[in-house]
């Protein structure tokens, strides 16, 4: 099962932030660690796809005044999600090794 780069990054952020992974914290984490800032909309679109495939599950959180009374939605990985993420990371790693990217790109 293929994952897009954003899907992979969002899943890694969910693992790193567990159990506090929600839209903004995921966006901040990606910005901090990967150096680009995906829009909140693209994060939700990616997570919606992943949820539909059964790779992430959601849990409603607290509503605060700052959020206009709207609840947070916390994300976590399911067992198939963890498996597909590991497979995707392994594939990237072995492709990188095969290409000898460190030597090729300096």
């Amino acid at each position: 099962m293929e994952l897009t780069t954003l899907e992979q990054h969002a899943m890694l952020a969910i693992v790193a932030l567990h159990p506090n992974a929600y839209g903004i914290s995921i966006q901040d984490h990606i910005k901090q660690k990967a150096g680009y800032e995906p829009s909140v909309g693209s994060i939700y679109a990616a997570l919606d796809r992943l949820e539909q495939k059964g790779f992430v599950r959601t849990k409603q959180g607290e509503a605060t005044r700052e959020r206009g009374g709207r609840r947070k939605l916390y994300f976590s990985l399911t067992a198939p999600g963890k498996k597909v993420l590991a497979a995707s990371l392994n594939a990237t790693r072995s492709l990188g090794r095969a290409a000898g990217w460190q030597e090729a790109l300096g």
Partner: protein, 180 residues
């Protein structure tokens, strides 16, 4: 101002002070130490701190009065901190008097069209949370512009997602239709 907000404000306040161009390295370092020392204060203690903070010269040196007691700091830190606290606490009083600022409802509505139920709620909630932070940082006018920017950037991926769903269902319905 909620207790979380007060705590957040205290941290921002000390960070802001420490990053002032005229705050030298030693002063900044001590302020960061103060910041961490005050992270576990109760909301009640924090609520009046900014108004009560003051620097005093004693026989044995300069002190800053905080809810945790008296902290001994170099003269420069005490004086700068007290001056800065006065200005900032006035700004807080002003912002407390001002009516709450609302994010642009049209942008919010536009985004909620492309996601369902709890996800639409969570997405607009996330943008509102950012909006609150931007209001404090840049003021309401600029925060609204930033909100619109964020909403428009979010629109395209959501639109594509909604279209993909519609096409998928269209194909399924079409196939079912052909069989009956």
């Amino acid at each position: 101002m909620s207790s979380d907000k007060r705590k957040e404000f205290l941290i921002q306040f000390l960070d802001k002070y420490a990053s002032r161009p005229d705050a030298d390295y030693e002063i900044a370092k001590r302020l960061f130490d103060l910041r961490w020392a005050h992270e576990d204060l109760t909301p009640g203690q924090l609520s009046d701190w900014l108004r009560k903070i003051r620097a005093q010269q004693r026989d044995d040196g300069f002190t800053v009065v905080t809810p945790k007691g008296i902290a001994r700091v170099p003269r420069e830190v005490a004086v700068h901190l007290a001056e800065f606290a006065t200005v900032e606490s006035e700004a807080v009083t002003q912002s407390q008097k001002a009516p709450p600022v609302e994010p642009p409802r049209l942008a919010e509505f536009g985004l909620s069209l492309f996601l369902k139920g709890d996800k639409a709620d969570a997405l607009t909630g996330d943008l509102n949370e950012r909006f609150e932070q931007d209001c404090q940082r840049y003021g309401a006018k600029r925060a609204r512009r930033i909100y619109w920017g964020r909403a428009l950037r979010s629109l395209w991926p959501l639109l594509r997602r909604a279209a993909a769903r519609a096409i998928k269902w269209g194909v399924i319905i079409d196939n079912v239709w052909r069989h009956f």
